[in-house]
């Protein structure tokens, strides 16, 4: 309400004086990053910066080179994306634009001086005018407040976009690692089918099998090979998505991903009140709150000025093609016919609209938080079920199959078919593990917090897991 008070006639002079004395609003040291960077860091675990000059670029180049020299972790990928994604950097410059607007709003228009000399009819007329925009003087504090809020809001939405990118990158990372693992397991399945097909050919050569039997085994192999190609396709797509998000190109696209997804944590994170946490931490809620506060103050302003009716304040939202314009408009009018009641009603409506939008955002955030938490918990349970129940049972089946082969109760073809099935089960486990890590990232985004059981920055090297090895499933346990 201070803006309002300053506008009261008896304080106007003071305000003007204060403005003149304080000079103009100036650019901040950090261009708004003092808010964005910690907000992003606390929610993604990685810092972000605006790249301003060549030094920054060089530093980034070195950082990327260092990270890419080793196996890339999920945090590394996020870090690279936050610094190197050009879309995000472009978004960052909106901070600069908003700040420039703020600074501009706080500056008085330059006074104007005009000189006019005219002669005609023997008369010489010299006209000197010194103009100073008084309206500007009155509206400047208000404009500055508005631009200040907008700047604040921009900081939040920019930070939110950075967090979204981080989340997307994290998901893409898990997808890419899982897809590469999927290729490996598809190859193992194909290898079992290959051995079956080759042995079938020998069976046919020895006269023990018909063309029918041979064709059946060869068909298994042919399909398994198609599956390898399909897995390769999926792997390329998910890797490219990750590459795009990290803004990499050229030689940098050869980054190394770990061979395995991080292991399932010992337990799933227990969140007491995910909804409250989401309301407290999410930046979209903070931005919506700010907007509501902003409309509230304009409502208050309208209410207070309805009788003097000197000011109309409106939020301008315009759309020009793809570009969305937001701003405000100030105008002075003479209170002759309209005593301002409709204006107050409008401002009230705008306020109610914004209040409802805030409520909607909150409802959405609560729901997203609940959904992602439940998804996270059940993803954990599914992955744990695979790790603790399905895989050990498949292992047991394989052991029993081998015993039956030893006792000449089953043939080598059943042994190989089991090997294919066991590998397929491991593949399903990897899928479940990937779902868990994606859900983990989604939950972090939905609650605006980092979970304490995040995977280690560099996943521990895990043993390769050929289908039947007795020890290797320990790698998943």
């Amino acid at each position: 309400m201070s803006a309002l008070q300053r506008l009261k006639p008896r304080h106007a002079g003071l305000a003007l004086l204060a403005l003149l004395l304080s000079g103009c609003a100036s650019f901040s040291q950090d261009g708004g990053f003092g808010v964005v960077s910690p907000a992003v860091q606390s929610r993604t675990g990685a810092e972000t910066r605006l790249l301003r000059n060549e030094d920054d670029q060089r530093a980034l180049g070195k950082l990327i080179a260092d990270k890419l020299a080793q196996e890339l972790s999920a945090d590394d990928a996020v870090q690279i994306a936050l610094l190197n994604n050009r879309g995000l950097q472009a978004r960052y410059w909106e901070l600069g634009i908003a700040e420039a607007d703020l600074v501009q709003a706080g500056r008085l228009q330059n006074p104007g001086f005009s000189f006019k000399r005219s002669h005609g009819g023997g008369e010489l007329e010299i006209e000197r005018t010194f103009t100073f925009n008084l309206v500007n003087l009155i509206t400047a504090p208000l404009a500055q407040r508005i631009e200040g809020r907008r700047f604040e809001q921009t900081k939040l939405t920019v930070a939110e976009d950075a967090i979204k990118l981080a989340t997307e990158t994290r998901r893409a990372y898990y997808e890419a690692v899982a897809a590469e693992q999927g290729v490996e397991y598809s190859r193992q399945i194909a290898a079992a089918a290959d051995a079956s097909a080759e042995l079938a050919e020998r069976m046919r050569k020895a006269g023990n099998w018909s063309k029918f039997d041979l064709a059946r085994e060869q068909a298994f192999y042919a399909e398994a090979m198609a599956e390898v190609a399909r897995a390769g396709k999926a792997s390329t797509a998910s890797r490219e998505k990750l590459t795009r998000l990290m803004g990499l190109w050229g030689a940098d696209t050869g980054f190394k991903l770990p061979q395995r997804l991080p292991e399932l944590p010992a337990s799933a994170a227990e969140l007491q009140d995910v909804e409250q946490g989401a309301l407290r931490n999410r930046l979209d809620i903070q931005a919506a709150t700010l907007e509501t506060q902003h409309t509230a103050s304009s409502l208050g302003l309208n209410k207070a000025t309805r009788f003097i009716n000197v000011l109309e304040l409106g939020v301008v939202r315009e759309r020009k093609g793809e570009e969305r314009m937001r701003g405000y408009e100030l105008s002075l009018e003479i209170p002759l016919f309209d005593w301002g009641s409709s204006r107050v009603a409008r401002a009230e409506a705008v306020y109610m609209q914004s209040a409802n939008r805030l409520a909607e955002t909150a409802v959405q955030a609560r729901s997203e938080a609940r959904e992602s938490y439940l998804d996270y918990r059940s993803s954990y349970d599914v992955a744990k079920h695979y790790r603790d129940v399905v895989i050990p049972l498949r292992k047991q089946l394989s052991d029993e199959t081998l015993l039956r082969y030893n006792g000449m109760l089953l043939s080598v073809f059943e042994l190989l078919a089991d090997s294919r099935e066991q590998t397929a089960a491991v593949k399903s486990y990897i899928e479940a593990l990937k779902d868990f890590w994606v859900a983990h990232a989604t939950l972090e985004a939905a609650t605006g917090t980092r979970l304490n059981n995040a995977p280690a920055a560099a996943p521990a090297p895990q043993k390769q897991a050929p289908a039947h090895d007795h020890s290797n499933h320990g790698a998943h346990q």
Partner: protein, 454 residues
């Protein structure tokens, strides 16, 4: 998980559940036999004298004499049978064993048999081959109501004819015989000197389908059994038939499987001297080395054990001298595994190539599923026997004491009487003159005018 120990515990519990003296004061005691070794019966303590038979891996049921009636007590109950060391089966039997104890009586004996049903379902006992009053024939629903679980019925008749018989249920037979409900019955002649022999062995042929790793037979199997047994034992766990050189030996066998069994003896010729219909007149006897015992039939064969040695005695259906084996395992003979074996080994550590030179595992010792038997097994003094199932040995020895059935060990062959490797020169290979070159067979082309109708 069931293991051998818990099975033994289970067997002990079954023992504890026998009909007690106090609980059935008016009944003769129902003795119990949990062990699977051959129990050579003592001479009869009461009643008319006879020469007892030796039940391979089994025993004879004691009786009591009451008012000149021979009283037996059979208890039909679940039992655990050791089919061979390391393999136990959840079966149904009588008095702790399957087959049940052999009942031995003398021609003309009045016999009273109490049958207590401790099975979870109705049963009855049919006295196969006996000529008796219709109401004692044990066909449930036809000649008597079935014996409900927990009830005791009594059968009483005169054993009219000497001969070789058996008993088995005639109620839910498909299940009850598949579970091992059967026993031997011998009616001895009044005159113990009449067709007397020195050694008289008896057993029943039975077959089970027990999935490797499981314990209970699949009772709905019709023909595709995987365990072929003498008295529910599989080689090498079937006791040898030990005789003294020169003994007159009788072997009686009854077939309660679902297929015939050509039983073959090495080293001797024998005559079929009896069936479940009675004794064959000497003039009608054929010399044989193999006798086919059809389903539900019994055969008594006799011979003089005049040829010392360890002589194979077995069913001649080759898959009946095998234990559990895969019936759908493809033939691997002649299949070159080079290269591909390494590939498989990478995928399946512990894999070993088998079968490319035949069915024999060549003495390979590999772990197999729990509670099953190697397909072929047993080691003799010269190596792998590669037999299982319906196979045992007739051991003829010079100095085996009368009444001594203990295993004398492997036969010591006289010098130079064992097949040996030829180390001399081999003649060059030869081919038949004008032999045609072998031609690859073309696929058979069949012309069909009309679709098949079946």
């Amino acid at each position: 998980m069931t293991n051998r120990r818990s099975f033994l515990t289970g067997a002990a519990l079954i023992g504890a559940g026998m009909v007690s003296r106090a609980g059935a004061a008016s009944l003769p005691e129902a003795p119990l036999q949990p062990a699977a070794a051959t129990a050579v019966p003592p001479p009869p303590p009461t009643g008319r004298p006879f020469n007892p038979v030796v039940t391979l891996n089994g025993w004879s049921l004691p009786w009591r004499m009451k008012d000149n009636v021979k009283e037996f007590h059979l208890v039909a109950e679940p039992v655990v049978r050791e089919i061979a060391p390391g393999m136990f089966a959840n079966l149904w039997g009588y008095n702790g064993q399957t087959p049940g104890p052999t009942i031995e009586v003398v021609e003309g004996d009045r016999v009273r048999i109490f049958v207590t049903n401790k099975l979870p379902e109705n049963t009855s006992v049919h006295w196969h081959g006996q000529i008796l009053p219709n109401g004692m024939d044990g066909v449930s629903g036809v000649t008597q109501p079935a014996i409900p679980p927990g009830k005791t019925f009594v059968y009483e008749f005169v054993a009219k004819h000497a001969g070789t018989f058996m008993y088995h249920p005639h109620a839910d037979e498909m299940a009850q015989m598949a579970m091992g409900m059967m026993g031997f019955w011998v009616t001895h002649p009044k005159d113990p000197a009449l067709h007397a022999v020195d050694r008289d062995f008896v057993f029943l042929l039975s077959a089970y389908d027990i999935e490797p790793g499981s314990y209970t037979p699949k009772i709905n199997t019709m023909l595709d059994f995987n365990l072929w047994t003498f008295n529910s034992r599989a080689f090498p766990a079937i006791d040898p038939m030990v005789v003294r050189k020169g003994d007159r030996v009788r072997i009686r066998a009854g077939n309660l499987t679902m297929t015939n069994h050509p039983i073959h003896l090495h080293g001797h010729t024998f005559e079929v001297t009896g069936t479940d219909g009675g004794w064959v007149k000497p003039a009608a006897r054929w010399p044989e080395v193999t006798t086919d015992i059809a389903v539900g039939q019994m055969r008594a064969i006799e011979f003089i054990a005049d040829n010392p040695g360890d002589w194979a005695f077995h069913c001649h259906k080759s898959h009946h001298t095998m234990n559990a084996m895969g019936h759908d395992v493809p033939t691997m003979i002649g299949v070159d595994h080079r290269g591909v074996a390494e590939k498989i080994n990478k995928l399946v550590p512990g894999y070993m190539v088998m079968g490319e030179k035949g069915g024999s595992m060549g003495g390979m010792q590999m772990p197999i599923p729990e509670n099953t038997l190697p397909m072929m097994t047993g080691t003799g003094q010269y190596g792998e026997i590669e037999m299982g199932g319906m196979f045992t040995l007739l051991k003829v020895r010079e100095n085996q004491a009368r009444g001594n059935y203990s295993d004398p060990g492997w036969y010591k062959h006289p010098q130079g009487s064992v097949a040996r490797e030829w180390t001399g020169e081999l003649p060059p290979p030869s081919t038949a003159p004008n032999a045609p070159a072998t031609k690859a067979a073309a696929p058979l082309k069949v012309k069909r005018n009309a679709p098949h109708r079946h």
